[in-house]
Symmetry: C2
Subunit: 554 residues, 2 copies
């Protein structure tokens, strides 16, 4: 199949209608049955595939950056009697294992992004279920802060995956029902095994929705709730910025943007990713008056958009390239100047930019690829970009310089730890990458933090535990080569499992549960014949045949 | 194959040597190569299978109950140059998926039991690695509080599962390396991909072992460390009790002990389990003077031993019986009298009995079977036995009585909540089952706790959220029948995944990570062709063929 692109804009949406009325936006799902990303299925009943979710992600992003005036978003359906039937079953049943898993991951990330908007941007999501919300449809509603269900005796909320399809609700449903909506576990068990779900006041009584509203009062009540949510928001209003199309060039062995480049090393099954620091002789312009210091060209925002797109592209289109090797190039001081501007500003766009970088780095944390950071002379692993090294499974910093180099590369490689690394960009577990790295070892964390705001050469960085290895020129090439080759020789599955365990240290949150535990169980279930075999429930669904289960409990 | 039995005693051990010298016991692994539980593999290099671990579990249990004088346990090997090579690879490679998973679960539970002894019984485990400890062998060492490695240039600790076998260390290794020993995640990644592991002082520097001791000083140093650990223990000494053989009868459709009975309903794929309360007209005898109130016949201990054995038996031998239905029969007052005696005593044996009940209930929590509790007239779901209902995925309490019944069954069913349910028997997450049930809803927890120490009929119990459903005589039979039949109709895998998600609410601990996350990833990896397919790493190991991996990252 052709390469999946994650770039779109509202003019090109086939499945969503975005309308904005003052402080309230309405995002109405209206899937085009014939608009599936691949052949072989129809997107009936507002069921979705990756293409539908790519548009949703785009809308959620644009609402944050382009519409500071929008304070409440009503998520609803443009179809009668159905809100959303969840992920398309035929699409799932006919997809390879890694496609299903990658699709669920992206869908999860978009749901988490919706919660991030509600919580951190004052752009609060309201689910207006004007018809049945089943499976992933109800899970989408669960990502909203307030859920309204039309009370018409037939519209229900349900999680029918287990009874009908032999799989789990794949996008956080089990976790959000208990941990977010606080449904008691035995009732959650009943709900998740009840294919028809619950309607009206019973759904309210079980805490599955916040209110059930009769149809005659529906429109008025939805408008009223949206207005209430908007009235509570501290979002500033005013004009937004336009997320212009990315300047992206794709060839068979490279993907290039303005600041981010990737070289696809197919023979070695790795990708060499280079992030370029800010350009120009000066730091970012300081704002005069009330103007925002950030615009669409601001390096952090532009670079983050490119990195985000690259992660999504590689995850979906290049599953065999199992190791991503990160390098940076540029002046650390310019990176730090941009960081300071963001951290020092109370401007909404500076905040949005930081939140977006946070989400993008989280996306890296849950990426099932081995991540290696190479810290070489001429690099700029400082502040925000140091997070790439801290996110990596291992990092190498050159001790000294490469023999015979000149210019900026004749100075030893350094890293610089700043406030940006001490809490501004938390992981899914709620902690900074630095804190997670030293979890349970407060003395090491303190020692590292005490070394902030100055360039650290390899020996000191290694001593402080900020990098994994610090080989010199003599050993560098071989050590790095062995690490990358070794990674390519291992079982890709075992690496995925190991990395998922090591990357999430420390406390557990709803997000880490979703990515760490729920995803692992779902991966297993997706792969079992009871779901995906010829007689499994996923493939039997809709055929009239009953699934034939291996009855042994594992 | 024949039914696996979990009952043994030191006179029958084939793989371990248990010696006791005052306050120090030595448990030396010495596997009998020809003593595998099944055919087709030899237990070379102190590798283990389920049979080896059954003996280890027996030894750990007996040390706690039969040897209050033992304050430190040295876990070592009776073989030269090798401590333990971990789980036997040929056994794993030739085992069905559910066998592998069940084997790992039991092995994990025994490791957790070792940590429980160190932490809560003052019987502290010391790993004396007199040779290489690889894979599960090093994981066994990780369950000990202090790890000594002989420093002879060849003896190493390693986790070679990922590089050599394409699977994860299956018994907590990844979690304990980071969360218990606080190895930094990037170093943990390097260690877990380095098949040869680390030796001597380098293993100390990486925090993988606590000390490396040259061979000439080995025996003296081990003895000295064991004596130090023993000297710090508050364990009382004195005589222990004998864990006499269980009175167990197994037929094709029933398993019967003195207090616990199970009826195997093969057609419906369920097991009806009945726990009988204490017998006799009186409560337990109150102790006179310093004598322990508990002996080997004390109901709580005897019942717990039976329940523990039944759980292990059914998990291993009856994988197709997917739903366990719990009933109790007896006088709630007598259960409560036993509970009071245990909770009111500072005697070591009372403490051990409570800790054992705690571990057995935890075993139930991680059992991959649907658990249903039926609370009927004549039952005794009070205090300790109420935990069975709180552990269940759902519970039914009869409102009123069954029409036409007489005697004790003419009184409505009640449950009684006591101090026993408020923290004495914590789950793996560190919380009581009651607290877990109401996690995030402190008002509901408080209301339930306020109803303690009095019998609650169905309506009140349901109102307080202590039971799931409270049908009356008219609906009881059909509601229960549908619940059980429905469970049997679902995908066993999806049920396992759902239950594993719902049962572990609230905070995360090393144990919940091991059972909730690590296990899920391992299940998936075990099931993937990259490990268990004909060309997978697990089956290629030792054949001279390199595994052929599907290179797509999932």
């Amino acid at each position: 199949m052709s390469r999946v692109s994650f770039q779109t804009d509202p003019d090109r949406y086939r499945h969503w209608r975005l309308t904005i009325d003052g402080p309230v936006a309405t995002l109405a799902m209206d899937t085009d049955e014939a608009g599936g990303l691949r052949d072989g299925y129809e997107l009936k009943l507002n069921s979705y595939d990756l293409g539908v979710d790519i548009e949703l992600y785009d809308a959620v992003q644009r609402l944050r950056f382009e519409h500071p005036e929008v304070k409440a978003v009503v998520l609803t359906s443009a179809k009668d009697k159905i809100f959303c039937a969840g992920a398309n079953i035929r699409m799932l049943a006919s997809s390879p294992h890694e496609w299903k898993v990658n699709f669920c991951k992206f869908t999860n990330e978009t749901r988490n992004g919706i919660e991030d908007a509600s919580k951190n941007s004052g752009q609060v999501y309201l689910a207006a279920l004007n018809g049945t919300a089943s499976g992933g449809g109800y899970e989408l509603a669960l990502a909203c802060e307030h859920i309204m269900l039309v009370d018409d005796r037939s519209s229900a909320v349900s999680l029918p995956e287990l009874p009908l399809l032999g799989v789990l609700p794949g996008t956080g449903g089990l976790t959000r029902v208990t941990d977010k909506r606080r449904v008691r576990r035995d009732l959650a068990d009943c709900f998740a095994t009840k294919s028809e779900g619950l309607t009206g006041q019973k759904a309210v009584a079980w805490k599955l929705v916040d209110e059930a509203v009769p149809r005659p009062e529906w429109n008025r009540t939805v408008a009223s709730r949206a207005a209430e949510l908007a009235a509570r928001s501290r979002r500033p209003g005013g004009p937004g910025i336009t997320l212009t199309p990315l300047d992206k060039k794709v060839t068979d062995d490279a993907i290039a943007y303005r600041y981010v480049g990737a070289s696809l090393e197919r023979a070695g099954r790795s990708v060499a990713i280079t992030i370029h620091g800010p350009e120009g002789p000066e730091g970012p312009a300081s704002p005069e008056g009330p103007a925002s210091p950030v615009d669409a060209d601001f390096w952090t925002l532009a670079m983050t958009r490119e990195l985000d797109d690259l992660i999504l592209d590689l995850r979906t289109n290049e599953p065999e390239l199992g190791t991503w090797i990160f390098r940076t190039e540029g002046d650390p001081e310019r990176v730090l100047a941009h960081d300071r501007l963001l951290l020092g500003s109370t401007d909404w766009l500076a905040t949005e930019t930081l939140l977006y970088l946070k989400r993008t780095l989280k996306r890296l944390d849950v990426t099932s690829r081995s991540l290696i950071a190479l810290i070489e002379p001429g690099s700029c692993f400082a502040g925000s970009l140091l997070e790439l090294a801290l996110a990596a499974d291992r990092s190498f910093q050159l001790a000294g310089v490469f023999e015979g180099t000149e210019g900026s590369e004749a100075d030893p490689a350094t890293i610089t730890l700043t406030e940006m690394n001490l809490g501004a960009l938390p992981m899914s577990n709620g902690l900074s990458r630095l804190n997670t790295r030293f979890f349970g070892d407060p003395a090491a964390l303190e020692a590292a933090a005490a070394a902030k705001n100055r360039p650290l050469e390899a020996a000191e960085a290694a001593e402080l535990g900020l990098v994994t290895f610090a080989p010199d020129d003599l050993d560098w090439e071989e050590e790095v080569r062995i690490a990358v080759e070794e990674r390519a020789s291992f079982s890709p599955d075992a690496l995925t499992g190991m990395e998922a365990n090591f990357r999430f240290a420390g406390p557990e949150t709803m997000e880490t549960k979703i990515f760490g535990r729920l995803t692992a169980w779902q991966n297993w279930i997706f792969h079992r014949p009871n779901a995906s075999g010829p007689d499994g429930a996923l493939r039997s669904f809709g055929t009239g045949h009953r699934p034939d289960f291996d009855k042994r409990r594992v």
